[in-house]
Amino acid sequence: MPGRLRHRPGGVAGRRHHSAGPHDHRVRDGTLRYGSHVNVDVTPLPGIGVRKDFAIRGGRRVGVISHRDGNLELIVSEADDPDTTVASLALTADEAATLGNLLGTPQLVAQLSEEHKDLPGINTRQLPVTEGSPFDGRTLGETELRSRSRVSVVAVMRAGQIQPAPEPGFTLTGGDMLVAVGTKDGLDTAARILAKG
C-alpha cells in the first residue's frame, strides 16, 4: 500500500540507504533489500501505482512500475541521465513472471550446484512448467515426480519469487520454474514428465 511507505517523493538521488541484513524485505524509508547487494527504491506514484527500481552498476536505473490495475511495466533509464526513462515495456502478469524466472532461476541453480559440487552424480536443474503442460493448474503431488524420476523439487520460482520446499499440495501454473535435484537421467525423465504428462 503506497500510502504506508515512508518515502520522500522523487526517489532522491544520492540518498544513503540504511544497511540491513541479508534477505531483509522490510520497507525502510522506502528501501527494500533483496539479497544482500541491491537496494530497491520504492516510490509511490499517486493515482498510478508504485515504482520499484534500483541503480545498476553502470548508473542506469532498472525497475518495475506496478500499476494499480495490476499491470506491470519494466522501465530502464537513460545511461547519462538516470532521471529519464528510455524504455518502458508493458508486461502481462504471465510475461513478467516468465521474465522474472529467466532472470532469477539461474542464480538459484548456480548456488545449489555450487553447494552440491562435492557430491558427484547429483545435479541441479531448472525445469519449466510450460503454458500447455498437462500439470498447468494441477498440484506438484499429482506429477508423482518423486516416485517416477526420483528427483526432488527443492524450490519453485514464480513471478521472480522463490517458493522454497514446496509441499505436494502446491498448485503449479504455466510459467513456473521448478528447481529440481537428482541424477542426470532422473532429471531428463522429470523434464519429459512435466512436458508430456
Binding site: 500500500m1 503506497p2 500510502g3 504506508r4 520522500r8 517523493p9 522523487g10 526517489g11 532522491v12 538521488a13 544520492g14 540518498r15 516510490t43 509511490p44 506514484l45 499517486p46 493515482g47 498510478i48 515504482r51 527500481d53 536505473r61 525497475g63 512500475i65 494499480r68 490495475d69 511495466e73 522501465i75 533509464s77 547519462d80 541521465d81 538516470p82 532521471d83 529519464t84 526513462t85 518502458s88
Partner: protein, 402 residues
C-alpha cells in the same frame, strides 16, 4: 414538447456532439488536449457566435452539471485518502509555494479589473490549479511515468486536489454572497464536513466501496452514478457545492472498486465534460474576448513562468537533475478543466459582469481565453522542453556528448 421541437433538439444535439467528435479527432492528430477545441466549439455557437443554437439549453445545463460532478468524482477516484494525506505531509512546502506563486497573478488581475475580492478569490483559483487530466495524459503519452521527476509532479497535483477540497466550499460560500457572519459559519461548517468526510473515507472507505460495488457492470454503474448525483445534490443543498460532494465520494471509494469505477465512468465523464466545456463556451460571448485578450496573454505568460518555477524548485528539492527539473517545470504548466469549473461557479454567481445583473461576464471571457491558451500551450511546452534543454546544454558545453 411537440414533435417538431423534439426533432430540432435531436438534430442540434447530434450536430454538437458530432462536431465535438471531429474537433477531438483534430486535437488528437496534432497531439493536443481537446479542451481548448471544445471551448472554441462552444464559443463559435451561442451568444454572439457564428450560429445561434436554441432549444437545447435545458439539456446542456443539466449535462454540464453532471459533467462537473463526474470530473470531480473521477478526480477523487484517482487518489486514495491515504495518498492525499501522505501527499499533504510530503509536499506541503512546494504546495504552499505553488499557491502563493500561482494564485497571486490571477487575484491581482481580478482586483485590477475591479471584480472585487470575490472575483480575486475565483481568478486566483483559475490560475492556481493545474489540469491533472491534461498532465496525466502528457506523462502517459510521452512515456514519462517511470521518470524520477514524475513523483514530484504527481505529489504537487495531489496537493492541489486537496486544496480544491477546501477551496471549493469556501468559494461557494463566498459566491453565495451571504452576510459575513453567516458566510463564516457556512465556511466553517463546510470545512468541518470536508475534514470529517476525508477522515472517515480514510478509515471506512472500504465500507462505502462494499455498498456500491457490484460484479455486474450495469448495476455498478447505476449505483455509482446514483450515489454520485445524490451526494452532489445533498452537498449542494448544504451549500458545500455539488463538485466537492462528488470529489469526497470519489475519495471514499477505494481499492478494486475504484479502478473498475474509473474504467466504467470514463466514457460518461468524457461525454458530459465535453458538454460542460461547450456550455461554458456557449455562455461566453466571443465579443467580450478582445477587451480582455491582453490581460489573458499577460496572465498566461506570468503563470507559465510561476508554475514552471514551482515545478523546477520542487524537483530541485528532491534532487532531480537539470533536464528532469525542466521537465517537471514544463509538465505542470497546463491548466484546464478545474479552472473552467471555478470560473463557471463565479460566472453563475454573476461575478465579473460589466454591470450588476448584465450577465455579460468578462470573467468568463478572461477565464475561457486563459484556459484556451494554457491547455493549448501546456502540452506543447511539455513536449518541447526536453529537446530544447538538451540542445541548450549541449551547445555551450560540447564535452557532453561526442
Amino acid at each position: 414538447m411537440n414533435a417538431e421541437h423534439t426533432a430540432l433538439v435531436l438534430v442540434e444535439l447530434g450536430a454538437v456532439f458530432f462536431g465535438l467528435g471531429l474537433l477531438g479527432r483534430l486535437a488528437q492528430k496534432i497531439g493536443m488536449s481537446p479542451i481548448p477545441f471544445y471551448l472554441l466549439g462552444g464559443l463559435a455557437f451561442g451568444d454572439g457566435g457564428l450560429v445561434q443554437l436554441g432549444g437545447i439549453d435545458e439539456f446542456t445545463d443539466i449535462a454540464a452539471e453532471i459533467g462537473v460532478v463526474l470530473l470531480l468524482l473521477m478526480l477523487g477516484l484517482e487518489y486514495t485518502a491515504n495518498e492525499l494525506f501522505t501527499g499533504l505531509r510530503r509536499s506541503w512546502v512546494a504546495g504552499v509555494l505553488d499557491i502563493v506563486l500561482n494564485a497571486t497573478p490571477g487575484a491581482a488581475v481580478a482586483l485590477l479589473m475591479g471584480w472585487g475580492w470575490v472575483g480575486a478569490l475565483a481568478m486566483g483559483g483559475v490560475t492556481y490549479i493545474s489540469s491533472s487530466g491534461v498532465i496525466a495524459k502528457i506523462l502517459n503519452d510521452l512515456g514519462r511515468i517511470g521518470n524520477r521527476e514524475t513523483p514530484v509532479i504527481l505529489s504537487l497535483l495531489v496537493f492541489e486536489d486537496l486544496v480544491m477540497a477546501a477551496y471549493l466550499p469556501v468559494l461557494t460560500a463566498v459566491l453565495g454572497g451571504t452576510a459575513l457572519l453567516a458566510g463564516a459559519t457556512t465556511i466553517g461548517v463546510s470545512l468541518l464536513v470536508v475534514t470529517l468526510v476525508l477522515v472517515v473515507a480514510a478509515r471506512y472507505g472500504r465500507y462505502v466501496s462494499a455498498v456500491l460495488y457490484s460484479e455486474n457492470k450495469e448495476i455498478f454503474l447505476l449505483k455509482l452514478l446514483g450515489a454520485a448525483l445524490l451526494v452532489a445534490g445533498v452537498a449542494e443543498s448544504m451549500h458545500i457545492s455539488a463538485a466537492v460532494g462528488a470529489f469526497l465520494l470519489g475519495i471514499a471509494i477505494a481499492g478494486p472498486a475504484a479502478h473498475s469505477a474509473a474504467r466504467l465512468l470514463e466514457p460518461l465523464r468524457d461525454l458530459f465534460a465535453a458538454a460542460f466545456f461547450v456550455l461554458f463556451g456557449l455562455t461566453t460571448d466571443p465579443r467580450d474576448i478582445p477587451p480582455v485578450l491582453l490581460w489573458a496573454l499577460a496572465l498566461a505568460a506570468v503563470t507559465t513562468l510561476t508554475k514552471a518555477y514551482t515545478g523546477w524548485w520542487a524537483a530541485k528539492r528532491s534532487g532531480i537533475g537539470t533536464v528532469g527539473r525542466a521537465r517537471a517545470a514544463a509538465g505542470l504548466i497546463a491548466r484546464g478543466e478545474f479552472s473552467i469549473i471555478i470560473a463557471g461557479l463565479a460566472v453563475a454567481a454573476g461575478v465579473g459582469d460589466s454591470s450588476p445583473g448584465a450577465g455579460d461576464s468578462q470573467l468568463a471571457a478572461l477565464a475561457a481565453t486563459y484556459v484556451l491558451l494554457m491547455a493549448g500551450f501546456g502540452p506543447i511546452a511539455a513536449r518541447l522542453v526536453e529537446p530544447v534543454v538538451r540542445k541548450a546544454r549541449r551547445s555551450p558545453a560540447p564535452q557532453a556528448t561526442p
